[in-house]
């Protein structure tokens, strides 16, 4: 595996997850995998190595990204169990693998739709919900609730400009009423808001979840003020791995402002205690956070 290829794909994942949820990013990756299989021009002998390399790169991304990580594991399992690589010509292999990827993509889409159905049950008329990043609640739940005619408002906490702009675009397209405030201004809104909705990149078996940068601050502040915190994630985001194995990316950049220079260090994502979250909602409904491993499908 080329280190350069790993770095290129890592950077792309980090960029794409700024404007799509991790579920949507996973769907896009599956489609990219299908297209690449169609366009790949290599010998039958090299095909297995090519597929293995790309699967390894996706599973080792910085940060690790679920559900795609689990979906790749499912793909590899399927290929091994059914011996897809033996005695088959290239076209048959390609068609078969694309078919498996198709099934996995359909499964993820169904889970996302079902997550939206489960999620809207937690939105009531008069709700004033806090959001801060492009996660599953923004892409799936709120537009679905709006279509159902529920009357609610959203308070967007501005952090990353790209993410905030995308949240606004999605809410405007869905016709949802919103207000934008800087994250540090939340303290002045606790008498108005009544829920915090968040998403995640991964839910780990050691009782933590990996999420967009800035989530930890908001969750902690809402927890202190006793605000109900809802985490929405398809069960494919639950992993048997630990939070320390999530390959967080540490960015060290040189910043120059008005003649003075300094190094700015930032992590790609936050690791937050699941204990701070009140409800975990998956496509199967609310789940018990103490029995997380039970819900891991991989």
């Amino acid at each position: 595996m080329s280190n350069k290829d790993q770095l290129v794909l890592d950077a792309l994942f980090r960029d794409i997850v700024k404007f799509y949820s991790s579920s949507q990013t996973s769907l896009i990756t599956l489609q990219a995998l299908q297209t690449s299989i169609t366009e790949l021009d290599c010998s039958t002998e090299n095909f297995t190595a090519e597929l293995t390399t790309v699967c390894d790169i996706i599973k080792n991304s910085r940060p690790r990204m679920f559900p795609i990580d689990n979906l790749i594991i499912l793909l590899e399992k399927e290929l091994q169990e059914n011996n897809y690589f033996s005695d088959r010509d290239m076209d048959t292999r390609k068609t078969a693998i694309k078919e498996i990827i198709n099934v996995l993509a359909e499964r993820l889409k169904n889970d996302m739709n079902e997550l939206a159905n489960q999620g809207v049950k937690h939105i009531e008329d008069g709700d004033y919900i806090i959001l801060h990043a492009v996660e599953e609640p923004v892409e799936l739940l709120l537009p679905a609730a709006q279509r159902m005619g529920k009357k609610f408002e959203v308070l967007i906490l501005r952090q990353d400009l790209v993410k905030t702009k995308q949240v606004i675009t999605i809410l405007e397209t869905a016709g949802i009423k919103y207000t934008v405030i800087p994250e540090w201004d939340l303290i002045h809104f606790f008498d108005k808001v009544n829920k915090l909705f968040i998403g995640a990149y991964a839910l780990t078996v050691d009782g933590k979840f990996v999420s967009d940068s800035g989530t930890s601050n908001i969750v902690s502040e809402c927890n202190i003020h006793g605000l109900p915190i809802y985490l929405f994630a398809p069960s494919l985001e639950i992993t048997n791995t630990f939070s320390r194995d999530q390959n967080l990316y540490l960015k060290d950049e040189s910043i120059s402002v008005s003649g003075s220079e300094y190094n700015l260090i930032s992590h790609s994502s936050d690791i937050v205690l699941l204990d701070l979250v009140d409800y975990i909602i998956t496509e199967k409904g609310a789940i018990d956070k103490s029995k997380l491993a039970k819900y891991c499908t991989v």
Binding site: K4, I16, I28, A32, C42, E50, L51
Partner: protein
């Protein structure tokens, strides 16, 4: 005694516009002050010292050139505002599917075409950011792609009357039509384009290996295209404005082509269509006019006056007599001298003031040695436009390309540019020499 005093006064008066012109030229070349400020300050000095008066100054301005540039700037601003160029760029990125050779070829074709019908700076402003995103996202080095697009924009711009400022100036000051430019220069530009593209590919052939043998690279391309689609398509698309803008641009080009039938000068057409578009689009005129490069227009204005003063005092005549006419009256030698001197000078000096200075010189050369079919003018146009590729400061598009690249953390040094640009210019001027010699051979 009286005669001697009069001679001294006249000699001093001639010296002032020369000194002012040289100081302004140095200030422009070394970017000591803003170009427009430098030329207008020079004009101010000439007027204050009574070298020329304000009425003479206004008389030296070529309003035809200014109208053409202003009109095209307004048309391009409105079409850009409609989102058309973004759609085109994203679509090309999709068609390339991340193939390095396709990125080079397709973007170069688009850059050349856009530069031929729009201004080069607008072209690179649109193309460079997306090509950097595309190549960097694929783990390629964007430097070669940025350099190639800057170079290609100067080559493409050479093909038409409206493609590059030297052509705009030559066209309006000499009275050459849009059709004369495109019919004469586009064949040589196409040949140069193909050879230069082949050179760029050959010189960096390791970087242009196909990617469809690597599944990882193919996945990266798909993800990258998704990112580009999001980033570049996330702008407002105004379909009505796009249709109106493209219709006006097409109509303007049609009127350029039919100039000999309609008798409408390109400046009148460009400014006329720009006004029509401003009215029918109901655009915010103040906002659109803010986008017009007023400093460039003022720079042109100042230069016309400075060169007019040199002409008035016989300096241009002196240069023509003592520099160019010294090479003899062999038309082949004259054509090649004008081409190569223009080419080399435009690489190190701004090609706009150089062209404005050369126009009266060429007029004088043609008076003593008539050369048919405007071949000496084509020599100047090809030299001034192709020569802009030698160095980073040779053309506005180069400076802008390097500036955008820097914003994206792609460092291109003066040496980086000259290494590629000088060879490309050598190729371009050699092809142009062959073309001009053959053209002259069949014209005499």
């Amino acid at each position: 005694m009286e005669h001697a005093v009069q001679h001294t006064v006249q000699h001093t008066s001639t010296l002032i516009p020369i000194v002012v012109f040289l100081i302004v030229y140095a200030a422009i070349t070394f970017e000591l002050v803003n170009k427009a400020a430098a030329t207008l300050a020079g004009v101010g000095v000439l007027v204050v010292l009574h070298v020329i008066n304000e009425h003479q100054a206004v008389g030296f301005i070529d309003f035809e050139t200014l109208m053409l540039l202003t009109g095209m700037m307004i048309l391009v601003t409105l079409i850009k505002k409609s989102g058309f160029f973004t759609i085109v760029s994203v679509r090309i990125a999709e068609i390339t599917k991340g193939s390095p050779v396709k990125i080079l070829v397709l973007f170069s074709v688009v850059t050349a075409l856009m530069s031929a019908f729009l201004d080069n700076v607008t072209t690179v402003l649109i193309i460079i950011p997306i090509i950097i995103e595309l190549t960097r996202g694929l783990g390629l080095n964007p430097k070669n792609y940025v350099l190639s697009q800057a170079i290609i924009s100067n080559i493409g711009g050479t093909a038409t009357l409206i493609g590059d400022p030297p052509n705009v100036i030559i066209g309006s000051k000499v009275g050459l039509s849009f059709n004369q430019f495109i019919l004469t220069l586009s064949p040589v530009v196409i040949v140069v384009f193909i050879i230069v593209l082949a050179y760029i590919w050959f010189n960096n052939r390791v970087e242009f290996k196909p990617i469809n043998t690597s599944m990882t690279k193919l996945v990266a391309v798909q993800l990258l295209l998704e990112k580009i689609r999001f980033e570049f398509s996330n702008i407002t698309i105004d379909k009505k404005l796009m249709i109106k803008g493209l219709t006006c641009l097409t109509l303007a080009i049609f009127l350029f082509i039919t100039q000999t039938i309609t008798g409408l000068a390109p400046g009148v057409v460009a400014l006329g269509m720009a006004m029509v578009l401003l009215i029918i689009s109901k655009a915010d005129v103040e906002e659109i006019l803010e986008e017009v490069e007023w400093s460039t227009l003022l720079f042109f204005t100042g230069l016309f006056i400075l060169v007019g003063a040199l002409e008035e005092y016989g300096v241009i005549n002196w240069i023509a007599q003592n520099v160019f006419m010294n090479v003899g009256d062999n038309p082949y030698v004259l054509v090649l001298v004008v081409l190569w001197v223009s080419g080399i000078a435009s690489g190190f000096l701004d090609n706009i003031p150089f062209t404005i200075t050369m126009i009266p010189i060429i007029h004088l050369l043609l008076e003593s040695t008539p050369i048919p079919n405007n071949i000496l003018w084509w020599s100047l146009a090809l030299g001034a436009c192709f020569g802009g590729n030698i160095t980073m400061i040779g053309a506005s598009a180069n400076i802008v390309s390097v500036g955008i690249a820097k914003k994206y953390d792609v460092e291109i040094s003066f040496i980086d540019f000259i290494k590629k640009g000088a060879i490309v210019t050598l190729i371009s001027l050699t092809v142009a020499s062959i073309f001009l010699v053959l053209y002259l051979r069949f014209s005499l």
